[in-house]
């Protein structure tokens, strides 16, 4: 695994193609081909991502263009329930908005926030983990003490507090993009600890190996050694955490939106859709909340199953 040659000389040429070839030949792929559950979860995840990415092109209408909404079409039930009408396969909400389109667009937002949140928490966590593991001493102690303290509180609470503090700081007046950025930041700050601890542990093992000593000997700076030489060797577990955390990030965003501190109703994610749809549960319009709920449950379950499989496949000791 270790990059043996001093890679500072020809960095761009070597690794990428061989890494792909290695991946195609790996135990990971073999294990994937054996597990039906993993393949089903992967297929479902890809399907959800495709639906979300293609939402603007495959949705029957743009649910946030007021010109396309007809109040005449309000509260239509799903197509199989008698009164349903053709383009609205799973019904409409109180403003005549197509629920299917709203779900596709909402899924898009949920996935964008989830992926960005995982990216931010990964960046923070990997960065701090690398520094803590490599530097050691008081830097390590300081970072890990903060991590320990944060780990005693549930992530959702931290995300709520980050959200609340930021709102207090900005006075509560924000446009939709600022709110997306805020939620991404809240998720990033809630989930970095796991990455930091894992990466730190791996770095402490790696930094005593020969290739790192060799790198130091030829005068490479600490940032170069960390990012080009140690980082590639500690990423395995990070992918597992990232997959599982994607599900957690999506749940966190949905929960914040459901609590009314997440994405606004003008730009609804699945959580916001469930929040607004919840009002209609008692008047019998169950489809307004049921389908966003199903989409969220399916999305999270698929990603979770994929993450579980990935963890077991990469870590045979756990089985």
């Amino acid at each position: 695994m270790a990059t043996s040659a001093p890679a500072g000389l020809a960095p761009e040429a070597g690794p990428p193609p061989s890494r792909l070839a290695r991946f195609l030949d790996s135990d990971l792929l073999a294990s994937f081909r054996r597990s039906r559950l993993a393949m089903a979860a992967f297929a479902a995840t890809v399907l959800f991502f495709a639906l979300a990415l293609l939402a603007p092109w495959i949705s029957p209408q743009n649910p946030y263009d007021p010109a396309q909404l007809e109040l005449m079409n309000a509260n239509l039930p799903p197509i199989w329930a008698g009164d349903g009408q053709a383009p609205f396969w799973i019904g409409t909400d109180d403003q005549g908005r197509d629920v299917l389109s709203a779900v596709f667009y909402g899924m898009r937002l949920s996935l964008i926030v989830g992926v960005l949140g995982v990216a931010v928490s990964g960046l923070i966590g990997i960065g701090l983990g690398l520094v803590a593991g490599y530097a050691g001493g008081w830097v390590d102690t300081a970072i890990m003490r903060v991590a320990d303290v944060q780990l005693t509180f549930p992530a959702i609470l931290i995300a709520l507090i980050v959200d609340g503090v930021a709102k207090a700081a900005l006075g509560g007046h924000m446009d939709a993009n600022a709110q997306i950025a805020l939620i991404v930041l809240a998720i990033g700050l809630s989930f970095w600890v796991q990455y930091a601890r894992t990466v730190r542990g791996s770095v402490m093992v790696e930094k005593n190996k020969d290739y790192v000593q060799a790198g130091r000997l030829i005068g490479l700076s600490a940032p170069v050694i960390l990012t080009r030489h140690i980082l590639p060797n500690v990423t395995g577990p990070v992918f597992v955490i990232a997959t599982i955390n994607l599900a957690l990030a999506i749940i966190t965003e949905a929960t914040l939106s459901f609590l009314g501190t997440g994405l606004p109703e003008t730009m609804p994610s699945l959580g916001t859709l469930i929040r607004t749809g919840n009002r209609f549960l008692f008047s019998g319009e169950w489809w307004i909340v049921a389908f966003p709920g199903l989409a969220l449950a399916g999305l999270v379950l698929a990603i979770n199953l994929l993450g579980d499989w990935l963890r077991d496949a990469l870590n045979p000791k756990l089985q």
Binding site: F153, I161, D163, V165, A168, A254, L259, F282, L301
Partner: protein, 326 residues
């Protein structure tokens, strides 16, 4: 031993101070408090006087010390939305949250242990496999979705149980309880299940794994050889030895239950501290947010401290290593 306790207590105080600093910083982020107190056309000199009388001109450290001192005496200022002392609001809402948390914990323990024992004893039975699958799905689903599902099933469709509020409560001194009326008890059912479901699956998996482990040991085999009844082997000998980790986990999860009651209380419009906090976040009501933050931090830190100290009391091996380390 004393050094260890002292160090852990000092650490806990450090955490609380850090959380207090964050809570205090929230007020400073939220803008000039004088603006919220006076009319927009108040002259500068008058504003300056108010600033001085509120102590806002003092050094930051002095202000923080004053805030911490007030917080220690339970004074968190007035809520912006309710115009009432935060401590009064929290005290009013606390019984609702604690009763809900208690019911959720009892539900999680009782049902979780029963299901765990069953699925360990009938490992290959259809029902046990079903329980495992359901627990996997249950862990994946967000809490609020489970709550909505329960409301849809038992309130909207079947009409058996209320979907929001606490029902009728009885006042005992400053404590209001829902345990003494039929409607109060009925109102507790759905929120408790929603809140306790995650912990229930956790306990079920733990008990199952521990039971499978214990059932393989020699003393169970000897108990069987001695001709004891299966009932007394399973419950008197096997289950008893699985309970130590279960109680630890349940204790540590108590903090999570109180934190997650934020979500459950919102779904069921349960008038507890969590709902108060969510409304405070929505309305940028800083005094409530700060006080809730401190309260939750206090609960978490105390639980962790007590569990850590109990460990050393319960497990002699730990005590030894602590003594060696200290």
């Amino acid at each position: 031993m004393l050094a260890f306790i002292l160090r852990r207590v000092l650490q806990s105080v450090g955490v609380l101070l850090a959380v207090g600093l964050i809570a205090f910083a929230m007020f400073r982020f939220a803008g000039d408090p004088v603006n919220q107190l006076v009319a927009p056309d108040t002259p500068y000199a008058e504003r300056l006087q108010i600033r001085q009388s509120l102590g806002l001109d003092d050094p930051v450290l002095v202000q923080f010390a004053r805030y911490a001192g007030n917080a220690l005496r339970g004074r968190f200022g007035n809520s912006y939305q309710f115009r009432q002392p935060v401590s009064t609001l929290l005290a009013e809402r606390m019984p609702a949250t604690l009763e809900l948390a208690l019911c959720a914990t009892v539900f999680a323990l009782v049902v979780g242990i029963l299901m765990g024992v069953y699925s360990a004893l009938h490992r290959d039975g259809a029902l046990a496999k079903l329980l495992q699958a359901v627990s996997l799905v249950g862990v994946s689903l967000p809490t609020f979705l489970i709550g909505i599902l329960l409301i849809f099933l038992f309130s909207v469709t079947l009409g058996w149980l209320p979907s929001y509020g606490r029902g009728d409560t009885v006042r005992l001194g400053w404590w209001t309880t829902g345990f003494l009326t039929a409607s109060g008890l009925r109102a507790l059912v759905l929120p408790s299940i929603t809140l306790g479901l995650f912990q229930m699956t956790l306990i079920m998996r733990l008990v199952r794994a521990e039971m499978l482990e214990v059932l393989r040991t020699d003393y169970i085999r000897f108990a069987r050889a001695r001709g004891l009844t299966t009932r007394s082997i399973h419950f008197g000998h096997a289950l008893k030895n699985t309970l130590v980790p279960v109680i630890t986990v349940a204790g540590l999860q108590l903090g999570s239950i109180i934190a997650f009651s934020i979500i459950t209380e919102t779904v069921f419009q349960w008038p507890g501290m969590g709902l108060l906090f969510v409304q405070a976040v929505q309305n940028v009501d800083v005094p409530i947010m700060a006080a809730y933050l401190l309260l939750v931090a206090l609960i978490f830190v105390s639980i962790n401290l007590v569990v850590d100290l109990l460990y050393t009391v319960v497990d002699p091996r730990l005590r030894l290593s602590v003594r060696r380390a200290a």
